[in-house]
């Protein structure tokens, strides 16, 4: 069983293929190019060099979020296009859970992936020995440390932090966390498609077992003829990223601060039709 994974939730663009629990190929770049320029060329090269074509793949695993809104959508639309064309299911993989996945297999520490969400906030969650200690959420950094201290009260607990929120907030974490604080090493501290693929493979296997079918069945019937999809494994039509945040306009509408577009104010009228994209990318 082969899973192709796509990870584009933050600065890293990454693609990987695993066969069961064996990593067959991975291509990761961390540069200033947009994922739209890197992701598909990476898939092209990686499959070519690995000698694996899309026809060999059983399902597409996607890092579903949280993360950069635009980055998540580039990954999602790419995965949806591949899955639609090849008749494959999509496996929804939490970005934070995938980041913690490999570390949680080798450590009893509290694994806490922290993604910089700007505006003093982080996307984070906490896991220990496969259990979810803190649900994924967009939090203020101080709210995160308070929540961690509360759910793991023992003074001798070890917390292992990783992610691009670490360099931004390392001092706060070290100062406020009651317990040992450690930071994951460079090779393990950013998103990687290998983790998405490996966790995706586990989720897919569980789904196959739950429904009493095997991967070859799904492949020969095609995703459009499968009716036992759920929230983890789904038809490509039904996949959308998990942003964990509403758009700014939706938040303004809810809390009543959205400008009343119908009011006759010269200033507002001259402000233009299209609402400016106020760096709303995270």
């Amino acid at each position: 069983m082969k899973i192709l994974a796509i990870e584009s939730s933050a600065l890293v663009a990454s693609a990987a293929i695993v066969e069961d629990d064996l990593l067959k190929a991975e291509f990761t770049v961390n540069n200033k190019l947009t994922h739209s320029e890197t992701l598909l060329p990476m898939l092209e090269s990686m499959t070519k060099i690995a000698g694996i074509s899309l026809e060999d793949i059983d399902a597409i695993a996607v890092s579903a979020g949280p993360g950069s809104f635009t980055g998540l959508r580039i990954g999602a639309a790419t995965a949806k296009g591949l899955a639609l064309a090849a008749g494959l299911p999509i496996i929804r993989v939490s970005t934070l859970q995938a980041m913690a996945y490999s570390l949680s297999l080798i450590s009893d520490d509290v694994i806490c992936p922290v993604m910089d969400a700007r505006r003093g906030q982080v996307y984070s969650a906490a896991y220990r020995s496969g259990a979810v200690l803190l649900e994924e959420e967009a939090r203020d950094i101080h709210a995160l440390t308070a929540a961690l201290n509360e759910c793991v009260p023992e003074e001798d607990s070890c917390f292992l932090f990783l992610g691009d929120g670490v360099p931004v907030h390392s001092e706060t974490l070290a100062a406020e966390i009651q317990g040992d604080v450690a930071f994951a090493p460079a090779g393990l501290n950013r998103q990687r498609a290998a983790d998405v693929a490996l966790l995706g493979s586990v989720l897919y296997t569980k789904w196959l077992q739950k429904n009493g079918i095997n991967a070859a069945d799904v492949r020969s019937r095609g995703a459009d003829n499968i009716d036992c999809f759920d929230e983890a494994v789904m038809n490509s039509d039904d996949f959308a990223p998990e942003y964990l945040r509403k758009s700014q306009a939706e938040r303004e509408l809810e809390d009543g601060t959205l400008e009343d577009a119908g009011r006759h104010s010269l200033k507002k009228m001259q402000s233009g039709l299209i609402r400016p994209e106020k760096a709303e990318t995270r």
Partner: protein, 342 residues
């Protein structure tokens, strides 16, 4: 039908603003399907297109829209020869959904990929409605984001001769509609309100750009309308919305029509086309037709469904690109500020 039988069937994808669209078009002119999923009701609440919401909805809806376009065309992916997609201009987050999807489809299906300029798509909409239309002709492209006057020399040869110096024509409609409380989208609402009004009721200025006979300016007109409203409000006078809309619309339309006819005359071209969302405006259509008839010129515009954003026009434009050997690869990116004619 396949390419080997001299037919080229193109799947077009469009997601540059607030419509998620997919269409199947054969040989650039024969529309086999044209599916548009409009988000307009959602954005109306916000008084304009919210880019982040538009992008999210594109991502949710795109596969269903493509699937429906294939189904209505009675084809599977094996019946498609080329994948085409709008690469720009437009909202970057919105464009990226269509571009990423199209690239993945093209790669997975081993089909050629053609990235299309959105405005060239609007121009190509005329090839769908007018089966015999061939260049050269003059084309006025008017929409919420664009006001261009171009001489179309060939299917892929666009000479941009005029443009707006400030607001796009459609943008002016939206702002005026907002000012008089008609709301979004402004074009159709102003057009409807105008039908009850007297276009000669209020004298609004027609802006001219000195030494640029084919360029447009609407900022003076917009200010005049807003000032008129402010003055009336200060004096406590009631505004006749229908008269205001009709007078404003007449000013916009006269500016558009006069430049277009002037351009056609000086270039010695007898065919005039309109394209883009504002080309659905009934007053613009009538005025342009009358002006053309008076000069013995032919006047063309697309059916309303091909005036607003759609993917059939993208597939049509891609056909002529494809015939000319244009192919894009996996590096194709969204270009939010793409210019016409490069």
């Amino acid at each position: 039908m396949t390419e080997t039988e001299n037919n080229i069937t193109i799947l077009g994808i469009e997601s540059s603003c607030d419509e998620t669209a997919a269409a199947v078009v054969r040989n650039g002119r024969e529309v086999l399907s044209n599916v548009i999923s409009s988000q307009i009701d959602i954005h109306t609440v916000y008084g304009g297109v919210v880019p982040e919401i538009a992008s999210r909805l594109h991502c949710e809806n795109i596969n269903g829209v493509i699937r429906l376009a294939l189904k209505e065309a009675g084809l599977g992916f094996d019946g498609i020869d080329v994948i085409a997609v709008t690469k720009g201009p437009g909202l970057v987050g919105a464009l990226l959904v269509g571009v990423s999807e199209a690239k993945a489809l093209a790669w997975a299906l081993h089909k050629p990929l053609v990235g299309v300029h959105h405005i060239e798509g609007h121009i190509a909409a005329n090839y769908i409605t007018h089966a015999d239309l061939e260049p050269p002709y003059v084309c006025l492209v008017v929409s919420g984001g664009h006001t261009h006057l171009a001489v179309i020399r060939g299917y892929r040869e666009f000479e941009l001769v005029g443009r707006t110096m400030d607001d796009a024509a459609g943008e002016t409609f939206d702002k005026v509609a907002r000012a008089v409380g008609l709301g979004y989208p402004g074009g159709p609402k102003v057009d409807r309100a105008s039908r009850e009004g007297d276009p000669h009721a209020i004298e609004f200025p027609r802006g001219e750009v000195r030494d640029h006979p084919y360029d447009f300016t609407f900022s003076g007109l917009k200010s005049a309308v807003l000032n008129y409203i402010n003055m009336a409000q200060m004096k406590g006078e009631e505004i006749n919305t229908a008269d205001l809309c009709a007078s404003f619309q007449k000013a916009v339309v006269e500016s558009l029509v006069s430049r277009t006819i002037r351009c056609a005359e000086s270039f010695g071209i007898r065919k005039v086309a309109i394209a883009g969302g504002v080309s659905a405006n009934s007053t613009l259509r009538e005025s342009m037709r009358e002006a053309c008839e008076a000069k013995g010129m032919e006047c063309l515009y697309p059916e309303p469904v091909y005036c607003t954003d759609n993917a059939a026009m993208i597939a049509s434009a891609a056909y002529f690109e494809y015939l000319d050997g244009v192919r894009d690869d996996a590096f194709l990116n969204a270009e939010p500020n793409l210019k016409l004619g490069n």
